[in-house]
Protein backbone atom coordinates (compact mmCIF):
# COMPACT_ATOMS: atom_id res chain seq x y z
CA UNK A 1 0.00 0.00 0.00
CA UNK A 2 1.37 3.41 -0.95
CA UNK A 3 2.05 5.94 1.79
CA UNK A 4 -0.72 8.20 0.48
CA UNK A 5 -3.24 5.36 0.38
CA UNK A 6 -2.22 4.37 3.90
CA UNK A 7 -2.73 7.96 5.00
CA UNK A 8 -6.11 8.13 3.25
CA UNK A 9 -7.15 4.82 4.84
CA UNK A 10 -6.29 6.12 8.29
CA UNK A 11 -8.23 9.29 7.60
CA UNK A 12 -11.22 7.31 6.30
CA UNK A 13 -11.12 5.12 9.41
CA UNK A 14 -11.13 8.17 11.65
CA UNK A 15 -13.99 9.78 9.69
CA UNK A 16 -15.96 6.51 9.33
CA UNK A 17 -15.90 6.63 5.53
CA UNK A 18 -16.21 3.46 3.43
CA UNK A 19 -13.20 4.00 1.23
CA UNK A 20 -13.51 0.69 -0.62
CA UNK A 21 -16.61 -1.31 -1.57
CA UNK A 22 -17.07 -4.50 -3.55
CA UNK A 23 -20.35 -4.76 -5.42
CA UNK A 24 -21.26 -8.17 -6.83
CA UNK A 25 -23.37 -7.46 -9.89
CA UNK A 26 -24.63 -11.03 -10.24
CA UNK A 27 -24.10 -14.49 -8.80
CA UNK A 28 -24.80 -16.01 -12.22
CA UNK A 29 -21.69 -17.48 -13.78
CA UNK A 30 -20.58 -19.20 -16.97
CA UNK A 31 -18.11 -21.37 -15.06
CA UNK A 32 -18.84 -23.89 -12.31
CA UNK A 33 -15.68 -23.77 -10.24
CA UNK A 34 -15.58 -26.66 -7.81
CA UNK A 35 -14.61 -24.45 -4.85
CA UNK A 36 -17.03 -21.59 -5.49
CA UNK A 37 -18.91 -20.31 -2.41
CA UNK A 38 -21.91 -18.99 -4.37
CA UNK A 39 -25.03 -20.47 -5.83
CA UNK A 40 -25.49 -19.37 -9.42
CA UNK A 41 -29.18 -18.59 -9.59
CA UNK A 42 -30.76 -15.17 -9.97
CA UNK A 43 -32.89 -14.54 -6.89
CA UNK A 44 -33.84 -11.04 -7.96
CA UNK A 45 -30.76 -9.01 -8.87
CA UNK A 46 -30.81 -5.24 -8.56
CA UNK A 47 -31.94 -3.55 -11.75
CA UNK A 48 -29.80 -1.18 -13.75
CA UNK A 49 -31.55 1.79 -12.15
CA UNK A 50 -31.11 0.37 -8.66
CA UNK A 51 -27.39 -0.16 -9.13
CA UNK A 52 -26.90 3.30 -10.63
CA UNK A 53 -28.74 4.78 -7.65
CA UNK A 54 -26.54 2.76 -5.31
CA UNK A 55 -23.42 4.06 -7.07
CA UNK A 56 -24.69 7.63 -6.68
CA UNK A 57 -25.18 7.02 -2.95
CA UNK A 58 -21.78 5.40 -2.61
CA UNK A 59 -20.07 8.35 -4.31
CA UNK A 60 -21.86 10.71 -1.92
CA UNK A 61 -20.73 8.55 1.02
CA UNK A 62 -17.09 8.95 -0.04
CA UNK A 63 -16.40 5.55 -1.59
CA UNK A 64 -13.29 5.82 -3.77
CA UNK A 65 -12.34 2.26 -4.74
CA UNK A 66 -15.18 0.31 -6.34
CA UNK A 67 -14.74 -3.37 -7.20
CA UNK A 68 -17.25 -4.97 -9.54
CA UNK A 69 -17.31 -8.71 -9.05
CA UNK A 70 -19.65 -11.69 -9.15
CA UNK A 71 -20.53 -14.32 -10.40
CA UNK A 72 -19.36 -13.33 -13.83
CA UNK A 73 -19.83 -9.59 -14.33
CA UNK A 74 -19.94 -9.76 -18.12
CA UNK A 75 -23.14 -11.81 -17.92
CA UNK A 76 -24.93 -8.56 -16.99
CA UNK A 77 -26.16 -7.14 -20.28
CA UNK A 78 -25.94 -3.66 -18.70
CA UNK A 79 -22.36 -4.15 -17.51
CA UNK A 80 -20.81 -1.42 -19.64
CA UNK A 81 -23.68 0.96 -18.85
CA UNK A 82 -22.97 0.44 -15.13
CA UNK A 83 -19.24 0.78 -15.63
CA UNK A 84 -19.71 3.97 -17.59
CA UNK A 85 -21.89 5.38 -14.82
CA UNK A 86 -19.28 4.42 -12.23
CA UNK A 87 -16.52 6.16 -14.15
CA UNK A 88 -18.64 9.28 -14.59
CA UNK A 89 -18.79 9.32 -10.79
CA UNK A 90 -15.00 9.06 -10.85
CA UNK A 91 -14.66 5.84 -8.89
CA UNK A 92 -11.38 3.98 -9.07
CA UNK A 93 -12.87 0.86 -10.64
CA UNK A 94 -11.40 -2.62 -10.29
CA UNK A 95 -12.89 -5.70 -11.93
CA UNK A 96 -12.87 -9.36 -10.95
CA UNK A 97 -13.79 -11.73 -13.78
CA UNK A 98 -12.95 -15.07 -15.37
CA UNK A 99 -12.51 -13.04 -18.59
CA UNK A 100 -13.87 -15.72 -20.92
CA UNK A 101 -16.26 -13.16 -22.45
CA UNK A 102 -13.58 -10.52 -23.01
CA UNK A 103 -12.55 -10.24 -26.66
CA UNK A 104 -10.87 -7.36 -28.55
CA UNK A 105 -14.01 -5.19 -28.48
CA UNK A 106 -14.57 -5.53 -24.73
CA UNK A 107 -10.89 -4.92 -24.00
CA UNK A 108 -10.94 -1.72 -26.04
CA UNK A 109 -14.05 -0.51 -24.21
CA UNK A 110 -12.41 -1.22 -20.83
CA UNK A 111 -9.44 0.85 -21.95
CA UNK A 112 -11.73 3.69 -23.00
CA UNK A 113 -13.35 3.65 -19.58
CA UNK A 114 -10.01 3.46 -17.77
CA UNK A 115 -10.61 0.75 -15.24
CA UNK A 116 -7.76 0.56 -12.77
CA UNK A 117 -7.21 -3.20 -12.96
CA UNK A 118 -8.77 -6.49 -14.04
CA UNK A 119 -8.27 -9.50 -11.79
CA UNK A 120 -8.65 -12.81 -13.59
CA UNK A 121 -8.92 -16.24 -11.97
CA UNK A 122 -6.37 -18.72 -13.31
CA UNK A 123 -6.00 -22.00 -11.45
CA UNK A 124 -3.29 -23.67 -13.48
CA UNK A 125 -1.09 -23.17 -16.52
CA UNK A 126 -2.32 -26.59 -17.70
CA UNK A 127 -5.71 -26.71 -19.45
CA UNK A 128 -6.49 -30.16 -18.07
CA UNK A 129 -6.16 -28.83 -14.50
CA UNK A 130 -7.70 -25.35 -14.91
CA UNK A 131 -10.64 -26.60 -16.98
CA UNK A 132 -11.27 -29.43 -14.51
CA UNK A 133 -11.71 -26.81 -11.79
CA UNK A 134 -13.91 -24.44 -13.81
CA UNK A 135 -15.75 -27.44 -15.35
CA UNK A 136 -15.70 -25.58 -18.68
CA UNK A 137 -13.57 -27.10 -21.46
CA UNK A 138 -11.46 -24.49 -23.20
CA UNK A 139 -11.81 -21.94 -20.40
CA UNK A 140 -8.07 -21.55 -19.77
CA UNK A 141 -7.45 -20.70 -23.41
CA UNK A 142 -10.31 -18.20 -23.41
CA UNK A 143 -8.99 -16.51 -20.25
CA UNK A 144 -5.42 -16.35 -21.54
CA UNK A 145 -6.62 -14.96 -24.88
CA UNK A 146 -8.46 -12.28 -22.91
CA UNK A 147 -5.30 -11.39 -21.00
CA UNK A 148 -3.54 -10.85 -24.34
CA UNK A 149 -6.38 -8.58 -25.51
CA UNK A 150 -6.31 -6.57 -22.28
CA UNK A 151 -2.54 -6.24 -22.26
CA UNK A 152 -2.58 -5.09 -25.87
CA UNK A 153 -4.80 -2.21 -24.70
CA UNK A 154 -2.29 -1.31 -21.99
CA UNK A 155 -4.53 -2.44 -19.14
CA UNK A 156 -3.32 -3.73 -15.79
CA UNK A 157 -4.12 -7.41 -15.30
CA UNK A 158 -3.71 -9.46 -12.13
CA UNK A 159 -3.89 -13.25 -12.16
CA UNK A 160 -5.57 -14.61 -9.02
CA UNK A 161 -4.61 -18.19 -8.24
CA UNK A 162 -6.52 -20.05 -5.53
CA UNK A 163 -4.51 -22.95 -4.16
CA UNK A 164 -6.41 -26.23 -3.78
CA UNK A 165 -5.67 -29.94 -3.72
CA UNK A 166 -6.42 -30.11 -7.45
CA UNK A 167 -3.84 -27.52 -8.46
CA UNK A 168 -1.41 -27.44 -5.56
CA UNK A 169 1.64 -28.36 -7.63
CA UNK A 170 0.89 -25.82 -10.34
CA UNK A 171 1.38 -22.46 -8.69
CA UNK A 172 5.00 -22.12 -9.94
CA UNK A 173 3.64 -22.77 -13.43
CA UNK A 174 0.98 -20.08 -12.99
CA UNK A 175 3.64 -17.64 -11.80
CA UNK A 176 5.75 -18.46 -14.84
CA UNK A 177 2.70 -17.91 -17.05
CA UNK A 178 2.09 -14.55 -15.38
CA UNK A 179 5.71 -13.55 -15.99
CA UNK A 180 5.40 -14.58 -19.62
CA UNK A 181 2.21 -12.53 -19.97
CA UNK A 182 3.80 -9.63 -18.05
CA UNK A 183 1.03 -9.47 -15.45
CA UNK A 184 0.91 -9.57 -11.67
CA UNK A 185 0.04 -12.79 -9.87
CA UNK A 186 -1.47 -13.43 -6.43
CA UNK A 187 -1.74 -16.75 -4.63
CA UNK A 188 -4.46 -17.42 -2.07
CA UNK A 189 -4.47 -20.68 -0.09
CA UNK A 190 -7.88 -19.98 1.50
CA UNK A 191 -10.94 -21.85 0.28
CA UNK A 192 -13.97 -20.29 1.91
CA UNK A 193 -17.18 -21.99 3.04
CA UNK A 194 -20.26 -21.39 0.92
CA UNK A 195 -22.33 -18.34 1.79
CA UNK A 196 -25.14 -20.51 3.17
CA UNK A 197 -22.72 -21.96 5.72
CA UNK A 198 -22.05 -25.24 3.87
CA UNK A 199 -18.41 -26.09 4.59
CA UNK A 200 -18.01 -28.87 2.02
CA UNK A 201 -15.83 -26.68 -0.18
CA UNK A 202 -13.31 -26.18 2.64
CA UNK A 203 -12.18 -29.77 2.20
CA UNK A 204 -10.70 -28.76 -1.16
CA UNK A 205 -8.09 -26.65 0.62
CA UNK A 206 -4.49 -27.80 0.80
CA UNK A 207 -3.12 -29.38 3.95
CA UNK A 208 -0.34 -28.39 6.27
CA UNK A 209 2.43 -29.88 4.14
CA UNK A 210 1.64 -27.82 1.07
CA UNK A 211 1.11 -24.69 3.15
CA UNK A 212 4.56 -25.18 4.68
CA UNK A 213 6.02 -25.52 1.20
CA UNK A 214 4.29 -22.32 0.07
CA UNK A 215 5.30 -20.32 3.15
CA UNK A 216 8.93 -21.40 2.68
CA UNK A 217 9.00 -20.55 -1.02
CA UNK A 218 11.39 -17.62 -1.25
CA UNK A 219 9.96 -16.67 -4.64
CA UNK A 220 6.71 -15.91 -2.84
CA UNK A 221 7.72 -14.67 0.60
CA UNK A 222 11.26 -13.37 0.20
CA UNK A 223 13.22 -14.13 3.36
CA UNK A 224 11.55 -17.39 4.42
CA UNK A 225 13.31 -17.54 7.80
CA UNK A 226 12.03 -14.07 8.70
CA UNK A 227 8.57 -14.80 7.29
CA UNK A 228 8.27 -18.05 9.23
CA UNK A 229 9.88 -16.83 12.46
CA UNK A 230 7.98 -17.40 15.69
CA UNK A 231 6.29 -14.09 16.46
CA UNK A 232 6.42 -12.19 19.72
CA UNK A 233 3.18 -12.20 21.74
CA UNK A 234 0.93 -9.19 21.06
CA UNK A 235 1.72 -5.93 22.83
CA UNK A 236 -0.73 -3.35 24.17
CA UNK A 237 -1.05 -1.50 20.87
CA UNK A 238 -1.76 -4.72 18.97
CA UNK A 239 -4.42 -5.74 21.47
CA UNK A 240 -6.15 -2.41 20.83
CA UNK A 241 -6.01 -2.86 17.04
CA UNK A 242 -8.91 -3.76 14.75
CA UNK A 243 -8.87 -7.10 12.91
CA UNK A 244 -9.12 -5.88 9.30
CA UNK A 245 -10.81 -3.26 7.13
CA UNK A 246 -14.17 -5.10 7.01
CA UNK A 247 -16.81 -2.74 8.35
CA UNK A 248 -14.17 -0.12 9.12
CA UNK A 249 -13.21 1.29 5.73
CA UNK A 250 -14.65 -1.41 3.48
CA UNK A 251 -17.82 -3.37 2.89
CA UNK A 252 -19.61 -5.55 0.36
CA UNK A 253 -22.96 -5.30 -1.46
CA UNK A 254 -24.61 -8.41 -2.93
CA UNK A 255 -26.54 -8.48 -6.23
CA UNK A 256 -29.71 -8.29 -4.14
CA UNK A 257 -28.73 -5.10 -2.35
CA UNK A 258 -27.69 -6.72 0.92
CA UNK A 259 -24.80 -4.99 2.66
CA UNK A 260 -22.22 -7.05 4.54
CA UNK A 261 -18.94 -6.07 6.24
CA UNK A 262 -17.02 -8.04 3.58
CA UNK A 263 -17.61 -10.60 0.83
CA UNK A 264 -16.18 -13.19 3.24
CA UNK A 265 -18.23 -11.93 6.19
CA UNK A 266 -21.91 -12.66 5.46
CA UNK A 267 -23.39 -10.88 8.47
CA UNK A 268 -26.46 -9.03 7.15
CA UNK A 269 -26.41 -5.36 8.10
CA UNK A 270 -29.15 -3.90 5.88
CA UNK A 271 -30.41 -3.66 2.32
CA UNK A 272 -29.98 -0.69 0.00
CA UNK A 273 -33.40 -1.43 -1.48
CA UNK A 274 -34.90 -0.29 1.79
CA UNK A 275 -32.33 2.05 3.32
CA UNK A 276 -29.77 4.52 2.12
CA UNK A 277 -26.30 3.03 1.78
CA UNK A 278 -24.80 5.63 4.09
CA UNK A 279 -27.41 4.98 6.78
CA UNK A 280 -26.59 1.26 6.78
CA UNK A 281 -22.89 2.08 6.88
CA UNK A 282 -23.17 4.54 9.74
CA UNK A 283 -26.08 3.25 11.81
CA UNK A 284 -26.48 -0.48 11.32
CA UNK A 285 -26.35 -2.17 14.71
CA UNK A 286 -24.49 -5.11 13.17
CA UNK A 287 -21.94 -2.92 11.37
CA UNK A 288 -21.28 -1.00 14.59
CA UNK A 289 -20.88 -4.25 16.50
CA UNK A 290 -18.22 -5.40 14.01
CA UNK A 291 -16.59 -1.99 14.29
CA UNK A 292 -16.42 -2.18 18.08
CA UNK A 293 -14.33 -5.36 18.20
CA UNK A 294 -10.67 -5.05 19.12
CA UNK A 295 -8.13 -7.86 19.28
CA UNK A 296 -8.32 -7.79 23.09
CA UNK A 297 -12.08 -8.56 22.85
CA UNK A 298 -11.66 -11.89 21.06
CA UNK A 299 -12.38 -15.09 22.92
CA UNK A 300 -9.15 -17.05 22.47
CA UNK A 301 -6.81 -15.03 20.30
CA UNK A 302 -5.50 -12.39 22.77
CA UNK A 303 -3.46 -15.06 24.55
CA UNK A 304 -2.14 -16.57 21.31
CA UNK A 305 1.45 -15.93 20.34
CA UNK A 306 0.32 -15.48 16.72
CA UNK A 307 -2.17 -12.73 17.56
CA UNK A 308 -0.10 -9.86 16.21
CA UNK A 309 0.84 -11.53 12.94
CA UNK A 310 -2.09 -13.87 12.27
CA UNK A 311 -4.19 -13.31 9.16
CA UNK A 312 -7.32 -14.11 11.22
CA UNK A 313 -10.39 -13.39 9.11
CA UNK A 314 -13.38 -12.28 11.23
CA UNK A 315 -15.71 -13.43 8.46
CA UNK A 316 -14.34 -16.97 8.55
CA UNK A 317 -14.62 -16.86 12.35
CA UNK A 318 -18.24 -15.77 11.95
CA UNK A 319 -18.87 -18.68 9.59
CA UNK A 320 -17.49 -20.98 12.28
CA UNK A 321 -20.08 -19.61 14.68
CA UNK A 322 -18.53 -16.62 16.48
CA UNK A 323 -17.19 -13.41 14.96
CA UNK A 324 -15.16 -12.92 18.14
CA UNK A 325 -13.72 -16.41 17.96
CA UNK A 326 -10.72 -17.81 16.13
CA UNK A 327 -10.71 -18.65 12.44
CA UNK A 328 -9.46 -22.23 12.35
CA UNK A 329 -8.25 -21.89 8.77
CA UNK A 330 -6.03 -19.00 9.80
CA UNK A 331 -4.84 -20.95 12.87
CA UNK A 332 -3.76 -23.69 10.45
CA UNK A 333 -1.90 -21.14 8.34
CA UNK A 334 -0.08 -19.67 11.35
CA UNK A 335 0.87 -23.19 12.42
CA UNK A 336 2.10 -24.11 8.94
CA UNK A 337 4.11 -20.92 8.77
CA UNK A 338 5.86 -21.19 12.16
CA UNK A 339 5.40 -24.74 13.44
CA UNK A 340 3.84 -23.33 16.62
CA UNK A 341 0.22 -24.33 17.26
CA UNK A 342 -2.22 -21.53 17.96
CA UNK A 343 -3.98 -21.04 21.29
CA UNK A 344 -7.16 -22.24 19.60
CA UNK A 345 -5.49 -25.44 18.40
CA UNK A 346 -4.10 -26.14 21.86
CA UNK A 347 -7.48 -25.48 23.46
CA UNK A 348 -9.18 -27.84 21.02
CA UNK A 349 -6.61 -30.50 21.70
CA UNK A 350 -7.12 -30.13 25.43
CA UNK A 351 -10.84 -30.31 25.00
CA UNK A 352 -10.42 -33.43 22.93
CA UNK A 353 -12.18 -31.78 20.10
CA UNK A 354 -11.74 -33.06 16.62
CA UNK A 355 -10.03 -30.20 14.86
CA UNK A 356 -11.00 -31.38 11.42
CA UNK A 357 -12.44 -28.39 9.65
CA UNK A 358 -14.81 -30.68 7.78
CA UNK A 359 -16.49 -31.38 11.10
CA UNK A 360 -16.64 -27.79 12.31
CA UNK A 361 -20.01 -26.52 13.34
CA UNK A 362 -22.30 -25.70 10.43
CA UNK A 363 -23.73 -22.24 10.75
CA UNK A 364 -26.81 -21.30 8.83
CA UNK A 365 -26.55 -17.62 8.06
CA UNK A 366 -29.35 -15.64 9.54
CA UNK A 367 -31.19 -12.85 7.80
CA UNK A 368 -32.24 -9.65 9.49
CA UNK A 369 -35.90 -9.68 10.49
CA UNK A 370 -38.10 -7.95 7.89
CA UNK A 371 -38.74 -5.06 10.27
CA UNK A 372 -35.02 -4.23 10.17
CA UNK A 373 -35.27 -3.69 6.47
CA UNK A 374 -33.56 -6.65 4.85
CA UNK A 375 -34.81 -8.41 1.77
CA UNK A 376 -35.76 -12.01 2.36
CA UNK A 377 -34.92 -12.82 -1.23
CA UNK A 378 -31.49 -13.94 -2.21
CA UNK A 379 -28.83 -16.45 -1.43
CA UNK A 380 -28.44 -15.25 2.14
CA UNK A 381 -31.34 -16.66 4.05
Amino acid sequence: MSAILQEMSEKALKLNIPLSVQVDLTYRCNERCVHCYLDHDDHGEMTTAEIKHLLDEMADAGVFILTFSGGEIFLRKDFFELLEHARRLMFCVKLKTNAVMIREREAARLRDLHVESIQISIYSHRPEVHDAITLVPGSLKRSIDAIHFLKSQGLKVIIANVLMTQNMQDYPGVRALAAELDVECTLDPTVTPMMDGDRSTVGLGVGNGVLQQVFRDTALVGDADAYCAIPAPPGESELESTPCSAGHTACYVSPYGEVFPCVQFPLPTGNVRQQRFVDIWRHSEQMNEVRSIRLKDLTTCPSCTHAATCSRCPGLAYLEGNMRGPSSQDCEKSFARTGVPSANMLARKLAGANSSLAQAKLVQIRALPPSAGTSTAGAIA
Binding site: M8, F64, E84, F91, D112
Partner: protein, 105 residues
Amino acid sequence: MSRLYLARNPRVAARSLDGEMMIMSGRDSTLFTLNRTATILWQAADGATPLDEIVEHRICNEFEVEPAEALHDAETLARELANHEILQISEEPIPPFTPAAGGSL
Protein backbone atom coordinates in the same frame (compact mmCIF):
# COMPACT_ATOMS: atom_id res chain seq x y z
CA MET B 1 -3.72 38.09 -23.43
CA SER B 2 -5.17 34.61 -23.98
CA ARG B 3 -7.31 33.03 -21.33
CA LEU B 4 -6.76 29.56 -19.93
CA TYR B 5 -9.54 27.02 -19.44
CA LEU B 6 -9.34 24.01 -17.14
CA ALA B 7 -11.23 20.71 -17.18
CA ARG B 8 -10.94 17.65 -15.02
CA ASN B 9 -9.19 14.84 -16.86
CA PRO B 10 -11.91 12.17 -17.20
CA ARG B 11 -9.29 9.44 -17.08
CA VAL B 12 -8.58 9.93 -13.38
CA ALA B 13 -10.40 8.58 -10.34
CA ALA B 14 -11.21 11.19 -7.74
CA ARG B 15 -12.99 11.65 -4.44
CA SER B 16 -13.12 14.33 -1.78
CA LEU B 17 -12.13 13.08 1.65
CA ASP B 18 -13.03 15.62 4.32
CA GLY B 19 -12.47 18.47 1.86
CA GLU B 20 -9.19 17.09 0.55
CA MET B 21 -9.20 15.75 -3.02
CA MET B 22 -7.76 12.31 -3.56
CA ILE B 23 -6.86 11.71 -7.22
CA MET B 24 -5.59 8.56 -8.90
CA SER B 25 -3.75 9.10 -12.14
CA GLY B 26 -5.21 7.39 -15.17
CA ARG B 27 -1.72 7.05 -16.58
CA ASP B 28 -0.04 4.91 -13.93
CA SER B 29 -2.41 4.69 -10.93
CA THR B 30 -0.24 7.06 -8.90
CA LEU B 31 -2.26 8.51 -6.03
CA PHE B 32 -2.18 12.24 -5.35
CA THR B 33 -3.76 14.42 -2.71
CA LEU B 34 -4.42 18.04 -3.63
CA ASN B 35 -3.75 20.96 -1.33
CA ARG B 36 -6.44 23.55 -0.72
CA THR B 37 -5.57 25.70 -3.76
CA ALA B 38 -5.31 22.73 -6.10
CA THR B 39 -8.60 21.42 -4.75
CA ILE B 40 -10.27 24.74 -5.59
CA LEU B 41 -8.89 24.58 -9.13
CA TRP B 42 -10.08 20.97 -9.50
CA GLN B 43 -13.57 21.72 -8.24
CA ALA B 44 -13.90 24.80 -10.46
CA ALA B 45 -12.43 23.13 -13.56
CA ASP B 46 -15.63 22.88 -15.61
CA GLY B 47 -14.01 23.57 -18.99
CA ALA B 48 -16.06 26.74 -19.40
CA THR B 49 -14.89 29.11 -16.67
CA PRO B 50 -11.58 30.79 -17.50
CA LEU B 51 -8.80 30.57 -14.95
CA ASP B 52 -8.73 34.30 -14.27
CA GLU B 53 -12.38 34.17 -13.19
CA ILE B 54 -11.70 31.16 -10.96
CA VAL B 55 -8.83 33.05 -9.38
CA GLU B 56 -10.85 36.23 -8.93
CA HIS B 57 -13.95 34.58 -7.46
CA ARG B 58 -12.58 31.54 -5.67
CA ILE B 59 -8.94 32.12 -4.76
CA CYS B 60 -8.53 35.85 -4.11
CA ASN B 61 -11.55 35.85 -1.83
CA GLU B 62 -10.31 32.92 0.20
CA PHE B 63 -6.61 33.71 0.45
CA GLU B 64 -6.56 37.54 0.29
CA VAL B 65 -3.82 37.72 -2.36
CA GLU B 66 -3.25 40.15 -5.20
CA PRO B 67 -5.06 39.02 -8.37
CA ALA B 68 -2.00 39.20 -10.62
CA GLU B 69 0.17 37.22 -8.23
CA ALA B 70 -2.61 34.71 -7.59
CA LEU B 71 -3.20 34.23 -11.32
CA HIS B 72 0.48 33.60 -11.94
CA ASP B 73 0.67 31.03 -9.14
CA ALA B 74 -2.59 29.40 -10.19
CA GLU B 75 -1.42 29.07 -13.79
CA THR B 76 1.82 27.45 -12.64
CA LEU B 77 -0.16 25.04 -10.48
CA ALA B 78 -2.64 24.27 -13.26
CA ARG B 79 0.20 23.45 -15.67
CA GLU B 80 1.76 21.19 -13.03
CA LEU B 81 -1.55 19.37 -12.56
CA ALA B 82 -1.84 19.06 -16.33
CA ASN B 83 1.65 17.53 -16.48
CA HIS B 84 0.40 14.86 -14.08
CA GLU B 85 -2.65 14.42 -16.35
CA ILE B 86 -4.97 15.44 -13.50
CA LEU B 87 -6.31 18.52 -15.33
CA GLN B 88 -6.68 19.33 -19.00
CA ILE B 89 -5.79 22.91 -19.97
CA SER B 90 -6.57 24.78 -23.16
CA GLU B 91 -6.80 28.32 -24.51
CA GLU B 92 -10.29 27.40 -25.74
CA PRO B 93 -13.26 26.22 -23.67
CA ILE B 94 -13.16 22.44 -23.21
CA PRO B 95 -16.42 20.63 -24.04
CA PRO B 96 -17.75 18.17 -21.46
CA PHE B 97 -16.85 14.53 -21.96
CA THR B 98 -19.62 12.35 -23.40
CA PRO B 99 -18.61 8.69 -23.56
CA ALA B 100 -21.97 7.67 -25.03
CA ALA B 101 -21.08 9.77 -28.08
CA GLY B 102 -18.00 7.66 -28.62
CA GLY B 103 -15.45 9.70 -26.71
CA SER B 104 -12.56 8.15 -24.90
CA LEU B 105 -12.02 8.79 -21.24
